[in-house]
Symmetry: C2
Subunit: 116 residues, 2 copies
């Protein structure tokens, strides 16, 4: 779809074949990595301009303003693009649980064993 993203940013962004960029959401003060979502140009534009994290849902194929259903809003503090311009780091203030399971982060439950 047409996006309102700043053309200077859009020109630099390197997207996957389906037009998306992974976005890491991190709690701005504690440093916790909360989740990873995906953004297209318009989701990034909305994230930069509305103060609320907006993702593209690959499963539902629609925009998804984090917290609109759950109340678990992500207030945007800063957005950075990495050195290859193919990954975003979004520092947020997460209200409540980031994970749909009710866990604080999406990485709390499934720690893999190290070693042989």
């Amino acid at each position: 779809m047409t996006s309102n993203l700043d053309p200077a940013i859009a020109a630099r962004l390197k997207r996957s074949p389906d037009g998306l960029v992974p976005a890491i959401a991190q709690q701005y003060d504690t440093g916790e990595v909360l989740m990873l979502g995906w953004m297209d140009d318009e989701a990034l534009h909305r994230t930069l301009t509305t103060g609320r994290c907006t993702y593209w849902s690959r499963s539902r194929q629609e925009y998804w303003v984090k917290g609109d259903t759950s109340g678990h809003v992500q207030h945007v503090k800063s957005v950075a693009l990495d050195c290859d311009a193919d990954t975003l780091l979004v520092r947020v203030d997460q209200v409540g649980a980031a994970c749909h399971t009710g866990a604080r982060t999406c990485f709390d439950a499934d720690v893999l064993p190290l070693g042989e």
Copy 2:
């Protein structure tokens, strides 16, 4: 290629169409998000069993043990899979700079402007 990854983990892993999973590298003690790389089953197996972060380089189409060229090794502290089993969070002890530019993290240089 054939992988030695534990079949119980391999059965749960949800991969992109090119067989990869994004892996977020985080400094284990400070919480800094250092970089995002990609792992296939074998890279994950090596990361879990060798104590050194190993990625699949999409540009070079080869395994890449972080720090083998630069000395900027990532010692693995823990590996967690997210609630959807499609993203990895690898907590590491990063030696030196994580970014090939010499910056501590890949997200230090390019902060995007917020607002309209």
